[in-house]
């Protein structure tokens, strides 16, 4: 192990426990360390991204990074392009005729919209959970097994399904009825099934498009707990209209707003502020962010 920062950390710890040291160098090293971590562990780097539908820009001038093992929340009023941006991250926008993405969108340093990139490969690594639970009209088992089967994943399917359901915090509730149709589950269970289904193909990032908007508070709470647990292993990007939810679970928050062009009645979203969630909710730099998160606007 020759990582200089690890050695520096080690030195700093020794310095800190050594009587007489003032501890200053420890703080400096810790800060450098945090910065290095952040720089190297960006999952997505979004730079000046704009999305247009049939030539009409839906969202533009978006630039911010998304960090590994973070929950990144995208908040803002309806029509501000949060979901549109989210759908760029696993190239689901490709499915919409007339959608065009410009700017630079890097995933672990690779251009996500490069000419040789296969959207199907992208979606294997970047999973997605939708607003309305959308289980397949199949058994609970087959819902989970679908992804691993089409991807030709090796291994015992029973184990793969059990592992995914355990990670989705659903195993204990459904282990006795894996062969039953998924439509027989409650809405919250269906949404956790969709999360487990996304986990079964072992992605590294999960995109969630208002995953709790159709659920009751108890189910919402369960899914929030689950997300906090999952962020140990995955990076999560969530679009939410629920300010408390963003404040409760996310590490960083991007606030979007929408510019309405009165003449052509056209709406274009853009990012006003991106920062740590604490900063966005307690000490936002932009007055529009403050007005929104405190509920004065929107």
């Amino acid at each position: 192990m020759t990582d200089p920062d690890v050695r520096a950390d080690h030195d700093a710890i020794e310095e800190a426990v050594t009587p007489g040291a003032n501890g200053l160098s420890q703080r400096i090293v810790a800060e450098q360390h945090a910065e290095r971590q952040a720089g190297a562990d960006k999952v997505f780097e979004i730079e000046d991204v704009a999305v247009a539908y049939s030539g009409q820009p839906a969202v533009k001038n978006v630039s911010f990074p998304i960090y590994k093992h973070d929950i990144t929340a995208l908040i803002g009023p309806s029509g501000c392009g949060k979901s549109t941006l989210l759908r760029c991250l696993n190239r689901m926008n490709d499915l919409i005729p007339g959608a065009a993405v410009s700017g630079s969108l890097r995933y672990h340093g690779q251009d996500l919209y490069g000419p040789k990139v296969d959207p199907v490969q992208v979606r294997k690594l970047v999973g997605m959970v939708f607003q309305k639970p959308n289980p397949f009209p199949k058994s609970i088992f087959d819902n989970i097994a679908f992804g691993p089967r089409v991807l030709g994943m090796k291994g015992d399917m029973d184990e793969i399904v059990e592992r995914a359901l355990r990670r989705g915090a659903l195993w204990d509730e459904v282990k006795d009825r894996l062969k039953e149709n998924a439509f027989g589950m409650s809405g919250g269970q269906q949404q956790r099934l969709c999360i487990a289904r996304a986990l079964a193909i072992e992605p590294d990032t999960i995109l969630m498009d208002e995953p709790c908007s159709a659920l009751d508070p108890i189910s919402t709470h369960k899914i929030e707990d689950l997300m906090l647990e999952l962020k140990q292993d995955y990076s999560i990007v969530i679009v939410t209209h629920n300010m408390q939810q963003a404040a409760r679970i996310s590490d960083r928050t991007a606030f979007f707003t929408v510019d309405v062009d009165e003449g052509e009645r056209h709406r274009t979203g853009r990012v006003v502020e991106y920062d740590s969630t604490d900063k966005i909710f307690q000490n936002p730099a932009d007055p529009r962010t403050e007005a929104y998160v405190t509920g004065k606007v929107g």
Binding site: N90, M92, L95, P97, V120, Q121, R123, K124, G127, M128, F130, K132, N134, P135, F136, P137, F146, G147, V150, L151, F183, C194, R197, A198, I201
Partner: protein, 314 residues
């Protein structure tokens, strides 16, 4: 009742007073008479429509049974046509119809589903040629069957395909006739699969083909089967195009797909018996209608059973 606070501004007082008046005069027992009568008339019309449809169906079935019952026996299914009414049956025609339908299914199911999948999942609707294809299929579904008969004669029996008057040519002609119906029904069924299912599948890294093969088609099978039932019910009853492409009215042996010795079909045979001068043969024609109904019901029952096996709800 509380009185209205006199300190409130005028407009608000008026509004409150109006609300109070409404709450006193409104009654829970009788609605507005005219609305009620309109609703009841409409309901009666609906019942009338249903009764009319049922009456027609009952008349046909009852008439066929009453007239055909003297000739009704299992030997209808096993005997070949004969010049003597007692020994005449429908066996070759029944076999001919079953073969024809088998051929139609083999031809129409893959082609119909394929065309529907292309039009719903792949075709770019902004392109004029795709819209042209769509429009044409809708129009083809309404073209009279005799025109398909002429087409079959000119292009399948003779002309480019030159198959001769064989059963397979009849199957092809009937297949072309019902193909638009199957395509339209299959498209409806495919369109009824929620987009969220496709998105969910694609988001898991499935390709478009995997999504169609493993999610969209299984989910739309019930609707597709319904379309095939309708198509086959129509094909079973068609007479005119079959007469043009070689279905003979008097065949005493079991047909084969490619044999050029001739074939028959149930409606053709019934037509033949019904136009004979002897009363016994008219009775036989009515019995033939019953045979055809039995075949139709058996096929539809099988298809309904098949559909229920796959039935989904969203």
């Amino acid at each position: 009742m509380s009185t209205i606070d006199p300190r409130l501004p005028g407009a608000q007082r008026t509004r409150l007073a109006a609300a109070g008046a409404r709450s006193v005069t409104a009654s829970l027992t009788d609605g507005r008479g005219r609305d009620k009568v309109t609703g009841q008339i409409f309901y009666a019309l609906l019942l009338l429509a249903i009764a009319f449809a049922l009456a027609g169906l009952c008349a046909i079935v009852v008439q066929a049974f009453v007239k055909g019952s003297p000739a009704l026996s299992l030997s209808l299914f096993t005997d070949a046509p004969s010049s003597s009414a007692e020994r005449a049956g429908f066996r070759p025609a029944l076999m001919g119809t079953l073969y024809l339908i088998l051929g139609v299914i083999v031809l129409v199911v893959p082609l119909g589903i394929g065309a529907a999948v292309y039009l719903e999942e792949y075709a770019d609707k902004t392109r004029w040629w795709n819209r042209l294809v769509e429009l044409n299929i809708q129009n083809l579904a309404g073209v009279p069957s005799i025109i398909y008969g002429i087409l079959g004669l000119a292009f399948i029996v003779r002309g480019p395909l030159d198959l001769g008057f064989i059963l397979a040519a009849g199957s092809l002609t009937l297949g072309l006739l019902v193909l638009p119906t199957v395509i339209l029904a299959a498209r409806e069924a495919i369109r009824a699969v929620p987009p969220s299912i496709r998105e969910g599948s694609l988001a898991l890294g499935a390709t478009q083909w995997q999504t169609i093969r493993r999610q969209v088609l299984p989910a739309s099978i019930p609707g597709i089967i319904t379309g095939v039932i309708l198509a086959i019910s129509r094909a079973i009853g068609e007479t005119a195009p079959l007469l043009l492409v070689g279905a003979a009215t008097f065949v005493t042996f079991d047909p084969t797909f490619l044999g050029s010795d001739g074939y028959s079909a149930l409606p053709v045979q019934i037509f033949n018996y019904a136009t004979r001068p002897q009363d016994e043969f008219r009775v036989l024609a009515s019995a033939g209608v019953i045979v055809m109904l039995v075949v139709l019901l058996a096929m539809n029952a099988f298809a309904v059973w098949l559909r229920n096996r796959y039935e989904q709800q969203w």
